[in-house]
Symmetry: T
Subunit: 146 residues, 12 copies
């Protein structure tokens, strides 16, 4: 499918250890790898251009968010993994990005360990989807598309 036909462009950012999806604690995070998830999303949302970035480095995630300022995106979806709970620097980068932004968490962070029950990114995003497994990514895209 020719890229120029896509009428939306969305960036998904995944944070530390999410490259392990499918192998790490599958009873919590499911059995699909990031690649599986992306393939499925791109098939399902054929009209959306889905960019993807994963890193274990806080600084690279900030760089990527800043780069997004130049990219004419329609939305940003971020699952910052454990950075969710303390990276005020990522939060500041998100604040500087004037786009619809949705936080996604695969597991239900609000019923896990105490430290996971706070998101310092939340005040910098527009919404959050959590606990719905990897389906959360698709719901976020759909929410932006509709």
């Amino acid at each position: 499918m020719a890229e120029e036909k896509k009428f939306m462009k969305i960036l998904i950012i995944n944070g530390p250890n999410l490259n392990l999806l499918g192998s790490r604690e599958p009873e919590i995070y499911g059995k699909q790898s990031l690649e599986d998830i992306l393939t499925e999303l791109r098939q399902r949302f054929s009209e959306v251009q889905i960019l993807h970035f994963q890193s274990n480095h806080e600084g690279e995630i900030i760089d990527r968010i800043q780069q997004a300022m130049e990219e004419e995106l329609d939305g940003l979806i971020i699952n910052a993994g454990a950075f969710t709970h303390y990276s005020h620097a990522i939060a500041d980068a998100l604040r500087a990005l004037d786009l619809p932004k949705i936080e996604v968490h695969i597991s239900h962070i609000f019923s896990r360990e105490l430290f996971r029950q706070t998101s310092v990114l939340a005040p910098a995003c527009d919404g959050m989807i959590c606990g719905l497994g990897v389906k959360g990514y698709g719901l976020a895209i759909q929410s932006m598309r509709d």
Copy 2:
């Protein structure tokens, strides 16, 4: 459309002051009334039987959740309004209900007043969608349907 064709049955519960949707603080909660929202959801998800219950009474919400145990539902969606933040009694009722359960919040409760940043219902639900406006209800249904 004949009801017997519906292959899913989902109950949506809305808590206190959500009957005011469309009139109360529309800059936060949007302009659609509950009726508008339900009509739209029923049109969009024609294959799903959508039951709805709204009450300002904590006890009635608990009664309704208990009644759901007899109803062969496929899922429960709850936006408990301010009860979200302190009704351990509703949380206990939810714990006793063996169904997929999703919490929906229209506004982004995690970037509002401090007391709104805690959900005592979260540990009793499977997931949460918040900050995505009234679209959250539809995303929750879709998450259950897929």
Copy 3:
């Protein structure tokens, strides 16, 4: 006295256990019953139509506040009893009501038990009178009238 002559209409809401006024802990709450208090207020403020509602049910109080939206009131006076300290749902209902709103407490809640020293309703009201006994109701009416 003909009701049409009244030039103000004020609703007083009393919360849980305030129906016991006059019998419960009179050393704290005084010896007058709610009826005595209302009779006295109506005599004193003959030009004000004073509506009254008491309930031990949080939900009924919320319903009553919502109903007030249709009633062309000039003010609301609320003594929510123990709900003062935790009913965010009543606070939300008050926020949605665009009227002068005054919280009244018969005893001086700020010099009693710790849990009584917080009012979750305060940020949703315009003012507070407390510790002045049942005279507080009259002062609140007067403040609205003048």
Copy 4:
């Protein structure tokens, strides 16, 4: 057995979700229903008139406690379920009732989730029995009888 022979009258109040006893989480709350428990208590304490009230509504429980002031009871036993942890309004109603009052909890609330480790009703009661299963009700009656 003729009721006039009863030489004691005791009211048992059960709060939200306790109507589910026997079906909800039987590993925590046991397999007996409320009816089973009451039948057993009435057989065992044939000399005591045992009144019973269950509700999921905070307001109804307060109403019932207030009604008890007119009933010449010899004692009140209350298991307020999750209301135990936040209903200051029920606590105020109990404070206004001049009777021996015992709080019963079927499970050992002090070794469960943190929010269950506080009872706002405790300062308004004379004693507490917890963690001894449904036997707690019988022990409370016995404590009042002896």
Copy 5:
């Protein structure tokens, strides 16, 4: 009007920065100066001798409260400004003064910054009126008079 006809004597104490009333943040504190307020109060309560004292000095306020012990007053009204939130020394002076004492706050301190939501003077006073603007002074006098 001859002073000997006054049948009540009340002292009003205003604390730091209240001499700026009418000029400081009029959207919060109103447009009337202290002089305007006093003139109005004295006209309205012609039967009450109203003494007034304003100071930005904690020590002077304590001295003035102590002096009040010699003055055969019928009541003390105090708006201690920011001292409200930390001057335990003023609170001790108030405790030593055996008179009806009412705290007045022009703005609704319980819905402003966190540090303004605590009054260390409250346990040393009989009541509090807040958020009702400069009308609070008049209501306090009236409460003492009736």
Copy 6:
């Protein structure tokens, strides 16, 4: 009554200052001495062999609990006095003892000073009876017997 006829063996442990029962603060702890209480219990529960141990020494209480592991007991009742609130070492000893264990408090610790409102032993016991006076011991035995 011959000891071999006893079909149950229960150990009661009383902690620091409980040897003063009957003399210390009788308005809180009652007028019966420990000996009176034990005599009464042994008469009432003639079918139960009641062992008793009192000590002001945390270490001796731990030793006694460990010794209980060798004694084929049917239950342990412990009123650890002030150790209740901080002796994690006694709690550990209780955890190592595989028996029904009930904590008894004569006064209602949850309505006294703040430090008395926490029991570090609770998570190591099966249940708790408090505020029912010295009757609590009998109720605990009965709960174990039935």
Copy 7:
């Protein structure tokens, strides 16, 4: 007695409301006035020149402490009243004064209200005597003399 014979010079500073000693809450503070206390101390410690300063003004107390730097004192005794609990400015003045310094409290501040249980002056003094009534002043002098 000629002053030149005095071989020690000690300054006693009393803070806010201590000028009321003898009249304020005598059940807590005793019946002796400050003058009585000083007369007694000067008689008892005839070899010590006892300077005295009382003020309700924090600033005057700081000024007096600074003046003490010029006076060749042998010790400072301070009962700062309620300033004890929040005047870091007095504490700083004490830190700058290189003398033996003893804090005295007439009542036992550690068994009174919570706010009285902290002394911000303590880290700036060498010792503290509290709860021993007005005898505390004499004990402090004696401690410095011996």
Copy 8:
């Protein structure tokens, strides 16, 4: 000196590690041993019979306090060492002892580590002397004698 001539009897209790006085951290606790201190006190207060008890065992200290109930003492002086900060059991024993009781601390506990800044014994004693070195014992005796 014949013991029957003593007109006062005072018990001094020293807690854990105070037997090391003179050797442990002499820069904090001074160079005098407990024996030196007692000898000096007995010489100075020849009219007072001074009993002494030191133990590193919390239980022994409680036993000793209880034994004091039989001894017709005129006062108790206690330096409970580190037990000061957590032994609610010693505090309870002190509460049960109807005598003047003074807490002594050699060092200034309120300017040392945080855990040393709380005394759970304070509410059970009449007064406290701290930071005045071993002289504190003598001042306490004198305070009781005068």
Copy 9:
């Protein structure tokens, strides 16, 4: 130099104990007296009229800030000493003054005792310079001048 040539007017306020500069704890606060500092500042900023006010009295500082409203100043520099940490009354006075306001601290308050790590004045000022010694005053003037 003729004063009329000055094109800026700046007021420096120094709070409690700062009159001791040069003598108090020189290792923290340096060896220069206030006079030395002012002389140096006036030489260096010859084009700025530098007013100065020092007081140990919170009330005098508030009075001085209020007086500044009449003085056509270009800026205010305040080092409120220990008042920095608790004087909400000074903060309120600063809020009422519509001028550039800079807080200066000679030592690095954020690496000293805990109580010094909070400035209640900060939200009422535009900026803060701390830890740079007495040079901070000059930098503040310069920041206002440029």
Copy 10:
């Protein structure tokens, strides 16, 4: 201008998102870009060699601080952006660097969100300048130069 003429060498480090200066939230951070600021500083302080480093990567900032140990610098100026509030690792690197170190913040962090009111770097630096806009960098250099 020949570099060898410079008599001072100072390194400025800017942390995450500060590369966005001039475009991000200009009402808070101003309109100048980092390049503009540096150009201006180099012109103004022609006698100072100003090195500059910006990174969004915590690790690179630590590496750069370590590298500074080899560079014969006269001072370090750091604006660590959001890392200020949690990067103990940067703080440790600063602690290991034996140079004058000044923290600069463009906005007044102490009057912004709560999480911005703590600097974990402060105890590792010598001073702080905040709220004075980009002028803060120049004042820091000047403070080091003078």
Copy 11:
């Protein structure tokens, strides 16, 4: 092996309930008894004289630590069991003992219950080994020996 050949002397102290090692919760504490552990250690470290002391009594542990001052030891290893978390008295005894001191915990206390995550002994010891099972004792000896 002759004792005089031992070139090191080390004391191991085990606190409450550690005499149960091998029987108590073997999934946490392992299957070896204290005797097994000591035998193994003595075989493995034949050049070290290993003294051992176990007690459930806080006071006995303090006594034993004090006795160690007379014993020319080369090191102390302490596993104080639950006393670790609250015995400031043992901590004080350790502070007074001038020897290398290592705390050992068999289980990983920092990933267990909250109360086990604090060691009041840590500031009085030189190091800690935890979570490595009973091997921790051997590693501690080895660390002292090398």
Copy 12:
């Protein structure tokens, strides 16, 4: 020595600023450089293949831990420096790695600054050795080898 003879393979990870070992604060961290330490360890444990990785970058440490999943290691030893106290992302990476994992700290973090007294890595590791200097690394290897 041929690598194939090694029968164990262990990875040591050192976090930020640990490359400075030997130069940074040698009184805390000792005088040995990382190279010295590794050389010594490799000599001593010739049968163990010791891999080493140091980085100041959180992301690189996470990458390295993930890479370890492919390496057939027998254990991981991590000293994460200041990341220990806040890097939940490293903790998550450790959780995903199914190996014996030991945390090592050279200094006794539990007796240093408050922020160093928490390890967010602890719940993700099996044990901890701290305060034993660089010997800790060797003890950890030994613990894994035995």
